[in-house]
């Protein structure tokens, strides 16, 4: 029995630009999303959203709604069927510490937009109309939603969120060194609250299968999370629940946790013993997680040449009353730059909103923004070129963990990015560059994100017709997971991509975690590769056992899988086709499951991060406060790139979102009512085509050994630092240092 697993088969597809295998299904409408699955006798639920931010429901009148023909039932906290009692059961796989929100639990109102009733009717229109007739009477209290005003109540979260490293203990004497430093910058920074706004709204279709069994189509970034949640909350056997979500119309983190529409749809389906769908409206997409309001202060002290002598980064983040949401905001400062006196703090304060949620590069978008604007300020304070200043303080090891980096090609990002951008031609003087009436600004910043891997399994089945099916339960958020897994599987067995089918987003498949944290390529990719190589070994065994096998006496690590054949390395004349081998072995399929997880030995020794250097050109009509981002170069170091085409798209998407973050995105909170007011896509602005010009993506060479494929992940690195580069470019153009983003017209005028 062969037990050695070589790392890869051939390298025909991995590393090459390939179009999405799910592209045709998406553009022809064959790809179905959670709210599009049908079921016989499907009932439709419509959520009634609450109008106050704090207080309690004193009365809820559903009689008019119930009287509408076609209404099946109206659920409120007064008639909600029993669900699990303990908080523990509601805590999903990525929940922060606390008591997760429970829809229709009691009369308490925790935040504005909280679901207070679910109207279930024979059709959507009837449910929506009846929902408008539900009359809720409240006893309202004044909400507190201003993080700044709650600063006195700041606390260090007693329970740390799993997977989120708290700030390291300080080292040196940051405050003393700051006082002594000849050059200083110390300022406050803030990024507006943002909502994820995926194009696809949250939806759950619960299909009642009879006998207490349900099949659930849920908008989630990994069906295993909804699966566990449903089983725990409703006391169901996992075998009686199947959750699917083959496609996502954008996740950005808001699909990591099961949301209240899932709870409500399952609740109603079980109670009515009937299939139920609940789809949220665009406005209701503003009634749960968001990128938190974080108030930051960065204090940098340096010697006259710009070498950091003191680095202090303090953050205060809002969270809900019921959960201690946490993300890594301040650690990045000491990961990116080498300094002997460092103090990093991260505290929370409670406000009357829903719990914030992970949003693309959570914490890094916020923290690196402040750090990288501060570094630009220090560059001007010390008369340094911004890149030179960064190189002078370049960290050779991760001092927050006391470990070297497994790989860090950030120098190459600076160099190649600067070269492509033409940075050398920059006149550092603010307001020195013009194009007609417009001021031109060139700014740059660094990006960083953790390179993660999660325990994942995957399955593979090779049938005697030479077709391979692989998959697991994780989700493809639109990132290209289907495509890269197909590439990896095809190479592992030397097949064409057309011979490989990848299946994702189904709890009947091998278990894998939610897709998030940029860990899916490494985690699912390695698991798929290992499962395929198990099949390779087994089929090789059959090939070698054939009568007069040309592979007799050849070891597994000396054969190559390509063109559907197993051949001796360097001697293609000695080969057996996979189909022949299976036929000789008397099997019509070969199946394998394998799993992959972080290499704990490697992780003990090395820190793993992706890096980037972002260069931005802005043109500013200062008189009218109009900014155009005319050019972005994003140079990325993220290990091996499996598919340069989908990888580039990942970075493009991150950059566009970064432009939105820099100039447009802002959820506006009414502090009296405690409600986000611009809750639709006409008034909440994300970039449109007219806002986007040239975006140039560079992947620099980087070799990493944290996982067998050398993959580091790309989902988030594209956004990190982009807004800082733009803010720095705006300063270079105008001489105005804007530390509260987005940089809107009023701030340029102000």
């Amino acid at each position: 029995m062969v037990t050695t697993i070589s790392s890869t088969g051939t390298d025909s597809f991995v590393g090459t630009a390939r179009s999405r295998v799910d592209g045709p299904a998406k553009v022809t409408g064959l790809a179905k999303y959670a709210g599009e699955f049908a079921a016989p006798d499907l009932a439709h639920g419509y959520v009634v959203s609450g109008g106050i931010a704090k207080g309690r429901i004193t009365a809820i009148d559903t009689t008019s709604a119930e009287a509408v023909p076609g209404v099946i039932k109206v659920y409120t906290h007064e008639n909600r069927p029993r669900t699990a009692w303990l908080d523990y059961n509601y805590r999903d796989a990525v929940a922060p510490p606390g008591s997760p929100f429970r829809a229709l639990y009691d009369d308490a109102i925790h935040y504005s937009g909280q679901p207070v009733a679910l109207v279930v009717a024979e059709d959507f229109e009837t449910a929506r109309y009846a929902a408008s007739l539900v009359r809720v009477t409240y006893e309202a209290e004044l909400p507190a939603v201003n993080v700044g005003a709650q600063a006195e109540l700041a606390y260090d979260p007693p329970m740390k969120r799993a997977g989120i490293k708290p700030p390291p203990e300080p080292w040196g004497d940051a405050d003393g060194a700051f006082q002594a430093a000849p050059k200083k910058v110390a300022n406050d920074y803030r990024l507006a609250v943002e909502h994820h706004n995926p194009m696809e709204p949250h939806a759950s279709t619960v299909v009642w299968e009879g006998g207490g069994k349900i099949t659930v189509y849920d908008k989630i970034q990994g069906v295993s999370n909804s699966h566990g949640y449903i089983a725990a909350v409703f006391g169901m056997n996992k075998e009686d629940v199947r959750v699917l979500n083959p496609y996502l119309g954008g996740g950005f983190g808001i699909g990591l946790r099961p949301q209240y529409q899932l709870f409500l749809a399952v609740l109603a389906a079980r109670d009515l013993e009937r299939s139920v769908r609940v789809t949220l409206t665009r406005d209701q997409m503003f009634t749960f997680g968001y990128r938190p309001d974080v108030r930051q202060r960065v204090s940098l002290g340096a010697d006259a040449e710009g070498r950091l002598q003191s680095l202090r980064h303090d953050a205060l983040s809002g969270t809900s009353r019921f959960e201690d949401y946490q993300e890594v905001v301040v650690n990045w400062s000491a990961i990116l730059y080498d300094c002997d006196n460092v103090a990093l703090t991260y505290n929370l304060t409670k406000i009357d909103t829903y719990t914030p949620a992970d949003m693309r590069a959570p914490g890094a978008v916020t923290g690196v923004l402040a750090l990288e604007i501060a570094m630009d300020e220090l560059a001007y304070e010390t008369g340094q070129d911004p890149i030179a200043l960064r190189l002078k303080n370049y960290s050779e090891s991760d001092r927050t963990e006391g470990k070297p980096f497994g790989s860090k090609a950030l120098r190459a990002c600076y160099a190649e990015g600067a070269d492509r951008f033409g940075w050398a031609r920059r006149n550092p003087e603010p307001r020195s560059m013009r194009d007609g009436r417009e001021l031109v600004g060139w700014g740059m910043a660094t990006g960083v994100w953790e390179s993660l891997m999660q325990q994942s399994s995957a399955q593979a089945t090779l049938t005697a017709d030479g077709k391979l099916t692989v998959g697991n339960s994780t989700g493809d958020l639109g990132t290209g997971t289907y495509t890269i897994l197909t590439q990896i599987a095809a190479d592992a067995l030397g097949l064409q991509m057309e011979d490989v089918t990848t299946k994702l987003g189904d709890t009947d498949l091998a278990e894998a975690p939610v897709a998030g944290g940029s860990w899916t390529a490494a985690s699912s990719g390695t698991a798929v590769m290992k499962a395929c190589r198990k099949i390779a070994a087994e089929v090789f065994g059959m090939a070698r056992a054939m009568d007069d096998s040309p592979l007799a006496n050849v070891d597994f690590d000396r054969v190559v899988f390509s063109d559907g054949r197993i051949s001796v390395a360097g001697d293609p004349s000695r080969s057996v086709s996979l189909v022949e081998a299976m036929r000789a072995g008397g099997v019509d399929k070969v199946e394998a499951t394998d799993s992959a997880g972080p290499d704990s030995g490697h992780a003990k020794e090395f820190s793993a991060y992706t890096h980037s250097a972002i260069f931005a050109e802005v043109k500013v009509d200062e008189d009218l406060g109009q900014i155009r981002v005319t050019r972005i170069v994003s140079a990325i170091a993220a290990g091996k790139i499996i598919n340069p085409k989908t990888a580039r798209s990942q970075i493009l998407g991150g950059v566009v979102m970064g432009i939105g973050s820099a100039l447009e995105e802002e959820s506006m909170l009414d502090h009296t009512i405690g409600r986000f007011m611009n809750h639709n896509l006409a008034e909440y602005h994300v970039p449109v085509n007219a806002d986007i010009h040239d975006i140039d993506v560079i992947f620099v060479e980087e070799e990493d050994r944290a996982n067998p494929m050398g993959v580091k992940g790309l989902g988030e690195i594209g956004i990190v630092g982009t807004a800082a580069a733009i803010a720095n470019a705006v300063f270079h153009a105008t001489g105005k240092r804007i530390r509260e983003l987005p940089i809107t017209v009023d701030k340029i005028l102000g």
């Binding site: 408008s132 043109k619 008189d623 009218l624 006409a682 449109v688 017209v745 005028l749």
Partner: protein, 336 residues
């Protein structure tokens, strides 16, 4: 969205008739009304479909143009007569919404579109315009996009149209039909300020329906602009916009007309500022002085105080563009 009756009017008289009695609304493109119905802001008992009425022509009329109420925004903007004789109108229309919306939205619907005030749209909050007497949380609330001119203690909403800003500068007339026959309303009297009755956006009487927008004969082809400033470069309502038309006699302004959008409950004109420019040279100093006259009347909120200075600068730039004969391009987002 509530349940409603649907009737299709075959003639203007039928439409007028169908409007009476019930809580009825006219529907043509539906790009605003249907949204508002989904938000429970509008709850009509009856929708009167007027898409079959013969109001979809652009005709020469007394030396000017008559644009039927059902002419879509896209048709109006790309009509050769509009584009050549009233380019400020074409430019304003194309600055608004998206291609898809302009294909559906009509001239009459654009006139009668409702404010984008966040609170007006959100029936969980009070709003004097939506429910008279409940209050105005935009005052003291989130008011970045709100009015700086002509506000009242009950309402600080703006009229969101781009098209109407150009129509205001062009001194258009609105021809309407109602139970007591037809009449024409000067554009400046069509929309109104909120006063104590912000629920009324305009001066249409019950049962009246817009038949056409009439553009008087004039030469506006050379010295005009529509300059729109917003939070992103497309598909965003104006923070401030300016439609400017100058009649120049050599180096002298013989007549200046300019209207502002995004700053009031109606397209905002200031007769004193326009009169100031008459007989003067089209210089930056004079434009600044005219702008200063306009913004003297501003009464901003905390969140929109920036609009006062932005309006001032937009007026100056807009008049400069008009004087130079370099109107703002619709497709090139760089501001001229």
């Amino acid at each position: 969205m509530n349940r409603f009756d649907y009737v299709r009017a075959g003639t203007v008289a039928e439409a007028v008739q169908a409007l009476s009695g019930a809580n009825a609304r006219l529907i043509a493109g539906g790009t605003n009304l249907v949204d508002l119905m989904k938000y429970n802001v509008e709850r009509p008992d009856r929708l009167v479909d007027i898409t079959r009425l013969p109001l979809n022509a652009i005709e020469d009329h007394e030396g000017g143009l008559r644009i039927g109420a059902l002419v879509t925004n896209a048709i109006a903007a790309y009509d050769e007569r509009v584009a050549s004789r009233y380019p400020v109108l074409a430019s304003a229309i194309l600055a608004g919404a998206t291609g898809q919306l302009r294909n559906a939205a009509t001239t009459g619907g654009n006139l009668n579109q409702r404010t984008r005030c966040y609170y007006f749209y959100d029936d969980a909050t009070p709003c004097n315009k939506r429910e008279p007497g409940t209050g105005c949380p935009a005052i003291g609330g989130v008011n970045r996009i709100h009015a700086i001119f002509g506000i009242s203690p009950t309402c600080i909403a703006t009229h969101p149209s781009d098209m109407c800003v150009a129509l205001a500068a062009l001194d258009a007339e609105i021809r309407v039909a109602g139970p007591s026959g037809e009449r024409s309303i000067p554009f400046s009297e069509y929309h109104r300020l909120p006063g104590g009755t912000p629920q009324f956006d305009n001066t249409l009487q019950p049962g009246e329906i817009v038949l056409s927008v009439d553009l008087p004969a004039q030469d506006t082809a050379s010295h005009y602009t529509y300059l729109k400033l917003r939070d992103r470069l497309s598909y965003a309502f104006a923070l401030v916009s300016v439609a400017a038309i100058l009649d120049l006699d050599g180096d002298t302004v013989s007549r200046a007309r300019f209207a502002l959008g995004g700053v009031a409950h109606k397209p905002w004109r200031n007769a004193e500022a326009e009169a100031f420019l008459q007989g003067k040279a089209p210089t930056r100093e004079n434009f600044e002085a005219a702008a200063d006259i306009v913004i003297r009347e501003a009464t901003p909120q905390d969140g929109n105080a920036f609009k006062v200075e932005l309006a001032r600068r937009a007026i100056i730039r807009g008049l400069t563009q008009a004087a130079a004969g370099t109107p703002q391009s619709v497709s090139d987002k760089r501001i001229a």
